[in-house]
Each structure stands twice: as structure tokens, then as C-alpha cells.
Amino acid sequence: MSVIKVTADNFEDEVVKSNGTVVADFNADWCGPCRMLAPVLEDFAEEHKNVKVVSINIDEEDELAEEYDVSSIPCLVFFKDGVEFDRSVGFRQKEDIEELVGE
């Protein structure tokens, strides 16, 4: 699966009501480390079909960023059955993400 772009309109369906593990990547175009992380997440999503990876642009979705209390990006928020269980801030390598989701 590839990374799915998510907005306030479908966040509820794609993340909160989603069963299993979801990695939500809060990012922005002007953020260098976010751009570094994007291909890593694409790779991760390709290799782990059982994990859903979604991308949220914080400039377009500032209310979601606020709701999830994001105050530094890139910020990865990890959900299990719609409930946040962990988060990480800054660039991460694929192995780090695998470790965080417990794959």
C-alpha cells in the first residue's frame, strides 16, 4: 500500500475508525526533515501492507495538528484500533519506524 493523503474530512474514517495499526505522518512542504522522511515512509508502507500510513499536511489541516497537539514536525503518531499508543518527532529511519510499530 502507498501512503494515503488524509484531511479533516476523512481522518475519522481512515484513522480513528480504522482497525489495526495506523501511522499518521504530520508534515509540511517547507520542512526539510519531512521531505527526507517521505520516501522512507513510502518504502515502509510498501513493505508492511498490514500497516496503514497516512500523511497530513499541517498547513492545510491546522485543526487536526492542533487537535493532536503537534508542535514539531515531522511528527509520527501511532494508532492501534484508533487509539494513539506512541509518537515520535524528527527524521526516522525505516528500522526505527518498524521498531516503533512493533514489526
Binding site: 520542512c31 526539510g32 522522511l37 503537534v70 508542535s71 514539531s72 514536525i73 518527532v89
Partner: protein
């Protein structure tokens, strides 16, 4: 065995890779995070020759692609140790050990931390080292900047246009940074100067809620409610893994002069991690060129390799 193993894919390390490959040497670059190093956080670089306005990400990506196209090999593994064996160097990562004829240490610098309990866990939930990266999240909030240099002053100025209130906490009563910036800050109604003070404690539930400030003159402490703390107390070299390998200066920089040679033959240092006056992209790139050329000469002249 590689001819040249480069530790760090910042601007200095990647430039060294370009020079090493153009001299037909085999080159391995080992990077613990992403390529590009510290400049990746900067949205706009305006002093790199031939690139009047470029983002740090784009600049780094250009150099990365250039080095790769020339045949440099990149592996994303953090180096834990470098050993100087009789005739070769051994470079140890979590997963592998690589051997090389020469090693270039290009590990750069990182933000100095305050060294407070909770500081690391609060990064991204109230603690930041980059005002231009994270400032936008503190619209109409209360923030504090710690530090007394130009970075701290400029951070405070940047934040004063976003946040409702900005404290500047400085351990002395005069700033090291530009007086003109201090003057501009004094005119700002939402900026509060806190002199002779240090941050002693970070109070947090889910995120940072307040800080305890101690006045160094009278020992009085005070708790101030803030949403974000921006730390701007300088940068430190990333050399601790090499303290037993090469000579470091009193501040922890590799003691290597403009020729980029360390006290160990065949080991070189390039970029921000080396003792020098000006730490900028062009000087990092220049170091990469010098260090790689020194490495090439070392390989070509060292009787064991020829």
C-alpha cells in the same frame, strides 16, 4: 576494503565523497540519520555560491545526487566506533564492520542541550531547538528562549511576531549578541527580559507546562507558566565516539588544522566537528575537498598500499 570511509553525510562528508570518487578511489559514506546534516532544517540558504536562494533540503539533495552519480556508496548506519589498526581502519556500526585505508570524520555539530531531566522526552511537546522550524505551532501562546547569543536574540525576535508573550532568559545581564537586535526587542511589548537567570526544572504532564527559573544573583526561584521553551545555548561537536581515537581540543572539536589531518595518520576531519573559526556550508565543503585530497595522497604515498 574501501579506500575512503566517510563518517557523516553532511555537506562536508558528501563533498569529500565527490573528491574521492573523482580521484578514482572507492568511497563508502556512513550516515546515522538522513543525508544533508544540519542544513536540512533551513528553509532558505542565501550565501552558497551559485545558489542565491535554495532550501537546505534541495542543496543537500543536489550534492547527494552528484556524489551518488559519481559512484559513492551510501549506507544509512550510525558509526559506533572507529579503530586504528596497524595497516587499516575498522569502522563499526550496529550491524556491520567495514574496513578502510583511510577514514574521514565528518560528523558535524548538534545543538547543546540544557541538561535537564525530561529535556529529551519533551522534544516536540514543548522543548525546541529550532525557532524557525517549530515557532508556527506557538501562535498566541507563551514561550521562552534561553540563551544570550545572536541565535537566541533572533529566535526571540522571530517568535515575538507569532507568540503572545516571549521571555528571554539569560544567565548574565548583558548579551553576547548584536546590541541592535537587543534594542529592537526592547521596543516589543510582548518581550520580557529575564537576566541573571537559569532554567532549573521543566514541569510537565503530557507536555511542558511551566519552568522553574533561578536567579543566580540571589538564589531566588520562580515558576513561570509557558507552552514552549526554545533552547539556543550554542552548538557542540559530535565527537564523543572518537575521543579515544584522535586528539580533541578543549571544547571537544577534533584538533585538526586547515589541512584536516588529525594526529592519527590516515584519519582526517572535515567540517563543523573540527577546530576552526568559521563554521558554514562553504567552509564545510572546502574541508571535504581538502580532507579527501589528503586521503588520496595518503593512499598513493603510503608504501603499504602501493
Amino acid at each position: 576494503m574501501y579506500d575512503i570511509i566517510i563518517v557523516g553525510a553532511g555537506i562536508s562528508g558528501m563533498t569529500a565523497a565527490i573528491y574521492g570518487r573523482r580521484a578514482s578511489k572507492s568511497v563508502l559514506v556512513l550516515e546515522g540519520a538522513s543525508y544533508g546534516g544540519q542544513i536540512v532544517n533551513t528553509a532558505s540558504v542565501e550565501n552558497y555560491p551559485a545558489a542565491p536562494n535554495i532550501s537546505g533540503f534541495d542543496l543537500a539533495t543536489e550534492i547527494y545526487n552528484q556524489a551518488k552519480a559519481l559512484g559513492a556508496e551510501f549506507k544509512f548506519e550510525k558509526v559506533l566506533e572507529v579503530k586504528d589498526l596497524d595497516t587499516e581502519k575498522s569502522v563499526v556500526t550496529k550491524k556491520n564492520t567495514y574496513s578502510g585505508k583511510t577514514v574521514i570524520l565528518a560528523t558535524g555539530s548538534e545543538n547543546r542541550k540544557l541538561g535537564l531531566e525530561n529535556e529529551n522526552t519533551l522534544i516536540g511537546t514543548g522543548i525546541s531547538y529550532c525557532a524557525t522550524c517549530d515557532g508556527a505551532f506557538y501562535k498566541n501562546k507563551t514561550v521562552a528562549v534561553v540563551g544570550g547569543g545572536n541565535t537566541a536574540l533572533e529566535d526571540a525576535l522571530y517568535l515575538s511576531d507569532i507568540a503572545e508573550k516571549v521571555y528571554i532568559i539569560h544567565r548574565r545581564d548583558t548579551f553576547r549578541g548584536e546590541e541592535s537586535t537587543v534594542e529592537i526587542l526592547r521596543q516589543k511589548e510582548n518581550v520580557v527580559f529575564v537576566y541573571n537567570s537559569v532554567v532549573k526544572k521543566l514541569n510537565a504532564q503530557k507536555r511542558l507546562e511551566s519552568i522553574e527559573i533561578e536567579n543566580t544573583a540571589d538564589g531566588h526561584t520562580e515558576t513561570v507558566n509557558i507552552n514552549g521553551l526554545f533552547v539556543a545555548v550554542g552548538r557542540i561537536p559530535v565527537n564523543s565516539a572518537f575521543s579515544g581515537l584522535v586528539e580533541l581540543d578543549g571544547s571537544g572539536y577534533v584538533a585538526a588544522s586547515e589541512n584536516c589531518r588529525t594526529n592519527v595518520p590516515g584519519i582526517f576531519a572535515a567540517g563543523d566537528n573540527r577546530t576552526k573559526e568559521i563554521r558554514q556550508l562553504v567552509t564545510a565543503a572546502a574541508d571535504g575537498a581538502v580532507a579527501a585530497t589528503q586521503a588520496v595522497n595518503f593512499i598513493n604515498n603510503y608504501r603499504y598500499f602501493s
